[in-house]
């Protein structure tokens, strides 16, 4: 679907390729293509190289399924991390977010999505079976996982995915916890919505 038949094929090819990206329509794609056309050649080459390496150099960590260049990933290979503590997240970006907090010293497990029958995503499409296997194997080699933290998003689908994993872990000797939900730091009580406030009250802690 070429936006303009009078453009040279090499330009329309790039526009078509960019249009496949999420959030990029034909208009944005044309703008990006013409920006690159007018920029120095190095800009395009650097971008092309980065795109090629993205697929060529990265893979999924065979332990936690985070995106990595080395297998196992730096976190899974780090002996100073607590391997008895697994934080389960939806996406690799969630790992990056939690790492930025610098308070978590355990390891991760990346699901790569949430259960959503509407989008045709069932438990088999996520790395849930692998999580159960990982915990089983750890117990067999005498390095049991003590705790699994379910850190999926507090959306309906995220909650349901956490609930499903909880059911799957029920038979294993591991304690399962869920991230606390409540007020954002630096937030104003007055502007918090009712659901957030009621959850913050439910999850209150003794000082």
């Amino acid at each position: 679907m070429s936006p303009n038949p009078t453009l040279p094929p090499s330009v329309t090819r790039l526009i078509d390729a960019l249009t496949q990206l999420p959030g990029i329509g034909p208009k944005s794609a044309s703008r990006l293509a013409f920006f690159l056309l007018r920029s120095p050649a190095e800009t395009s080459l650097a971008l092309a190289e980065a795109l090629r390496d993205l697929k060529a150099r990265t893979r999924l960590c065979s332990v936690c399924f985070n995106i990595t260049e080395d297998d196992p990933c730096a976190i899974c290979a780090d002996p100073s991390r607590d391997h008895g503590l697994i934080c389960v997240v939806e996406e690799p970006l969630d790992v990056a977010a939690i790492e930025r907090s610098r308070v978590y010293r355990g390891v991760y497990h990346v699901l790569h999505g949430v259960i959503s029958p509407i989008n045709g995503i069932g438990p088999d499409d996520l790395r849930i079976e692998e999580l159960v296997g990982r915990i089983r194997r750890a117990a067999e080699v005498g390095q049991p996982v003590r705790e699994v933290i379910l850190a999926t998003n507090p959306t309906v689908e995220g909650e349901m995915t956490a609930s499903f994993i909880q059911r799957k872990l029920a038979g294993l000797e591991v304690s399962v916890t869920r991230l606390a939900r409540g007020l954002p730091a630096g937030g104003d009580l007055e502007y918090a919505d009712e659901v957030t406030l009621s959850r913050a009250l439910e999850g209150r802690q003794r000082l």
Partner: protein, 399 residues
């Protein structure tokens, strides 16, 4: 409460409108397709963030706006006078990439979510097709209950939203179950979401119908010259008191206005779960959820007769009018504010007695906006106290 000022940009056929609206009765006169109904629709939209007519809200953006900009937009703004002071409600609609509609809601200049709109501006809309509420499909009655409750009860809106999401996911899963074997836990997690939300909806609907029935009965008596006694009955799709009558036809004589004694939310959840378990096989076979408030029913009974099935057109009309007037009183009870009444061409289809009853009752409202093609239909006395406006081709001017 009342709308003091209404301002529209690119809404329906209004390119621009700045309209001051007085207290009391406002009569809007105009030929068909000039913008009378759109005026009421705009006020309804400001109250609910939805159009009462179109499922696709993007149709409210003015046609011409599409030629003027690649991203056409509409803005609705109303200054509301309430018991507790003035409020400014603004809704901006913009069509973006891939035909998505972006809705931005501001209350007193602060950006808010749709749910924050609940209770800011309350309206009761009377439409010519309202008689369908009694005679039409059950979905219309559920939509009526949902729309009425959504104006006053934010928890209801949340439960409805949770329920709808869980239902859509569960139905998608049931369809997949025809092709692959389901892990029982897959279905269970959606039940865990569906059941509490569904019970919350059913409990609130039952209370609302009971209140509406109580308020509608005396109004209906007056409208029917004391000859008929109206009962409005909520028939939940799952009922712990009568599990064996699931999907059974309505039986006259059972009073459903009060929740069965001694039954709490936990009993209702158990009943809902049991009903789901009982019909699981059938649900998988048909690929959809067969139990829950999305299949609730409301029936209108007068003197022992089901008006939906056996009532005359006149009886159905009277019942709907009683229901709508009861909704006005119900909103007043729930919010301690007078709702704004929006009457679209409804006086035309009423006989003189019912018209008189209606006009008497709307007299106590802080603000009533009535549209008509023909001003001659109104009593001289009635018109004397009203502000008269004329609409022609998307322009409003005093008459």
């Amino acid at each position: 409460m009342r709308v003091r000022h209404l301002s529209l940009t690119n809404f329906r056929l209004y390119a621009r409108l700045e309209l001051h609206l007085p207290r009391g009765l406002v009569i809007v006169q105009g030929d068909n397709a000039q913008g009378k109904t759109s005026l009421l629709e705009a006020i309804y939209f400001l109250a609910t963030a939805h159009s009462p007519h179109t499922r696709a809200d993007r149709q409210v953006i003015r046609w011409g706006a599409e030629e003027e900009s690649p991203y056409p937009y509409a803005v609705l703004r109303a200054r509301i006078e309430r018991n507790d002071g003035l409020r400014l409600i603004e809704i901006a609609l913009q069509r973006g990439d891939s035909n998505r509609l972006r809705k931005e809601i501001r209350i007193d200049h602060v950006e808010r979510r749709g749910i924050d709109l609940v209770g800011q501006l309350n309206v009761v809309l009377f439409l010519p097709g309202d008689v369908e509420l009694v005679s039409g499909a059950p979905a219309l009655r559920r939509d009526f209950l949902d729309a009425a409750l959504s104006q006053v009860d934010a928890d209801y809106v949340r439960a409805l939203d949770r329920y709808a999401r869980a239902l859509a996911q569960r139905n998608a899963l049931l369809k997949q179950a025809q092709e692959r074997r389901l892990d029982p836990d897959e279905l269970a997690i959606w039940d865990d979401q569906l059941v509490p939300a569904g019970v919350e909806i059913a409990v609130r609907r039952r209370r609302a119908v009971a209140d509406l029935a109580r308020l509608a009965a005396p109004i209906h008596r007056e409208l029917s010259d004391g000859s008929e006694y109206l009962r409005i009955i909520y028939q939940p799709n799952f009922d712990p008191a009568r599990p064996s009558t699931l999907n059974a036809p309505y039986q006259v004589g059972i009073d459903d206005s009060q929740p069965p004694a001694g039954i709490d939310q936990r009993d209702l959840q158990t009943a809902f779960r049991r009903a789901l378990d009982e019909r699981r096989r059938e649900e998988v076979a048909r690929g959809m959820t067969l139990v829950g408030p999305h299949r609730d029913e409301v029936r209108f009974i007068a003197n022992g007769m089901d008006l939906g099935d056996f009532g005359s057109r006149g009886q159905q009309r009277t019942a709907v009018l009683a229901l709508k007037l009861a909704q006005v009183a119900w909103m007043r009870e729930r919010t301690h504010e007078e709702p704004v009444l929006l009457l679209d061409e409804v006086l035309a289809e009423l006989d003189p007695h019912r018209r008189r009853c209606l006009l008497q009752r709307i007299g106590s409202a802080h603000q009533t906006i009535v549209t008509t093609t023909d001003i001659q239909r109104f009593d001289r006395d009635f018109v004397r106290h009203a502000e008269m406006l004329r609409v022609h081709a998307g322009v409003v001017f005093p008459l």
